[in-house]
Symmetry: C2
Subunit: 235 residues, 2 copies
C-alpha cells in the first residue's frame, strides 16, 4: 500500500530514504563490494537470470543475494539451491524494497558472513515496473529486465524505470519466433528514453546472449573494485 509522493511529506520521505541509501552505499564501498538492484515486471525472469548468472560466475566471484518478495520465500529457496547465501526480505503489502529494508537485510547477512569477502551483492527487487525505480537502496547500478513477451512499447509507457537503468536486459529472446514483437523496436524504445544504458538480449532458458552479459558484469565488478580508494578497504 502506498500513496502519491508529490507533496512535501512525499519529498521528505524520499529524502529520508535517499539518506539511508547513501549510508548503505558507504558500507558497500568500505567492503569494496558492487551492489546491483535488479528490477522488472513480475515474471520477466529476474530469478531465472540470477540462477544462471550466479552459477556461471561463482567460480570467479563471491556473491550473495538480498531477495525481496511481498510474501513467500519461493525465489529465495531457488537461489539458495544454486549455492549462494540468500537473505529473504518480505515486504508484506509494500510494492518495492526501500533502503531501510535493505539495511535490515544487510544486518542479517553480516550474521552469516563477512561482506568484505564478497565481490558482488545482488538485490532482487519486488516484481514491479513502476515503484522500485523511485526508491534507491544504495545500489551502484540499476539493472532492469524486460521480457520480449511484454511487447515493444513498455520503455515508452514506463519511462521512469528505463530512464534510471544502467543496464537493460531484454529477456526470453528464445520466445521471439512466437510473439508478435520486433526486438529491434524494443531496443530502439529503450534507447529513446535512455541512450546511455548498456543493453543485452538474453535467454536464461537457452543461454543465448548470456556470455556477453557475463563478460560485461565481470569487467564491471573488477573496474569497480579497482576504483575504490585503498584507504576505505576493510574500513
Amino acid at each position: 500500500m502506498h500513496m502519491p509522493l508529490e507533496d512535501t511529506l512525499g519529498r521528505n520521505l524520499l529524502a529520508a530514504n535517499q539518506h539511508r541509501a547513501d549510508h548503505n552505499r558507504e558500507h558497500f564501498d568500505a567492503w569494496k563490494l558492487l551492489c546491483l538492484n535488479v528490477m522488472s515486471s513480475p515474471g520477466a525472469g529476474k530469478t531465472s537470470l540470477l540462477e544462471r548468472t550466479i552459477t556461471a560466475l561463482s567460480p570467479e566471484l563471491a556473491m550473495a543475494v538480498l531477495e525481496g518478495d511481498m510474501t513467500t520465500q519461493l525465489d529465495a529457496d531457488r537461489l539458495a539451491a544454486v549455492g549462494v547465501p540468500v537473505v529473504p526480505i518480505t515486504t508484506g503489502r509494500a510494492c518495492h524494497l526501500d533502503a531501510a529494508m535493505v539495511s535490515g537485510g544487510l544486518t542479517l547477512l553480516q550474521q552469516r558472513l563477512d561482506p568484505a569477502a564478497l565481490d558482488l551483492l545482488w538485490v532482487e527487487n519486488v516484481g514491479n515496473l513502476v515503484c522500485p525505480a523511485e526508491f534507491e537502496v544504495g545500489e551502484h547500478l540499476k539493472v532492469a529486465l524486460l521480457s520480449v513477451t511484454e511487447g515493444d512499447d513498455k520503455p515508452l509507457k514506463y519511462p521512469v524505470m528505463f530512464r534510471e537503468a544502467d543496464c537493460v536486459l531484454i529477456t526470453k529472446i528464445d520466445l521471439l519466433p512466437y510473439v508478435p514483437v520486433d526486438v529491434s523496436r524494443i531496443e530502439e524504445h529503450v534507447r529513446a528514453v535512455n541512450p546511455r544504458a548498456q543493453v543485452f538480449r538474453v535467454s536464461a532458458g537457452t543461454g543465448q546472449g548470456m556470455g556477453e552479459w557475463h563478460r560485461w558484469l565481470l569487467a564491471t565488478v573488477r573496474e569497480h573494485a579497482a576504483s575504490q580508494p585503498p584507504a576505505l578497504v576493510n574500513a
Copy 2:
C-alpha cells in the same frame, strides 16, 4: 511515487479513496452500467484483450473505456481504433488509478456521451500487479490478467491482486508449447488464494477460449442490469 500506507495517515487516505469509489459506484448504478477494473502486470495483454473483446461484443453491448497509463496515449489510441469511446487518464508518476482519477475521467466521458446509454464501462488500470489491487475505483468487478509467460508462482507471490479478483484471465495460452509452465498449476495457485474467482484460459492472439469469456461477460452484464432497482434508472 508512493509510500507505505500502514499507518493512520495511510488508513485515512484509503478511507477517503473508498468514499470516492463508493460515490463513483452510485453513479454507475444510477446509469445501470457495469464497471470492470482490469488489472495485471505490464505486458500481460490487457489492451489486446480489450481490442478483441470490444470488437466481438460491440454488436451486443454499448461500451466505453477509461484508459489508465503513466504516460503516453498508445493504449488509448489502440482502443479508439476499434471504434469505442476512450478517455485517457495519465497518472504521471502514480503507479495505479485511484477513485478521484476515475471520477475525473467520468466527467470527461459525460462531455461526450450519456453514460446511461452504456452497458459496460471498462477501466484499464496501470500495468502493475501490486498497487492497483489496493485502490478501488468504484468498479463492480475486478478482472486480473496473468500471462502464462509470467510463470506459475505469481498468484502465490502477489496474493493481494488474486485474492481480490472476481475473474482471472490466464492469457497468452497460445505460448504454452514454448514456455516451461503448466497451466493447471497456474490455475491451482489462483484457486489456492481465491477459490471463488471465475477463471478463464484465453489467447487474444488466436482467439482460443475467448468465446467462453465473452459468454460469461454478456451474462454478467445482463444479470447486473436486471438486478438494479428500477427506481434508480436515470436517477
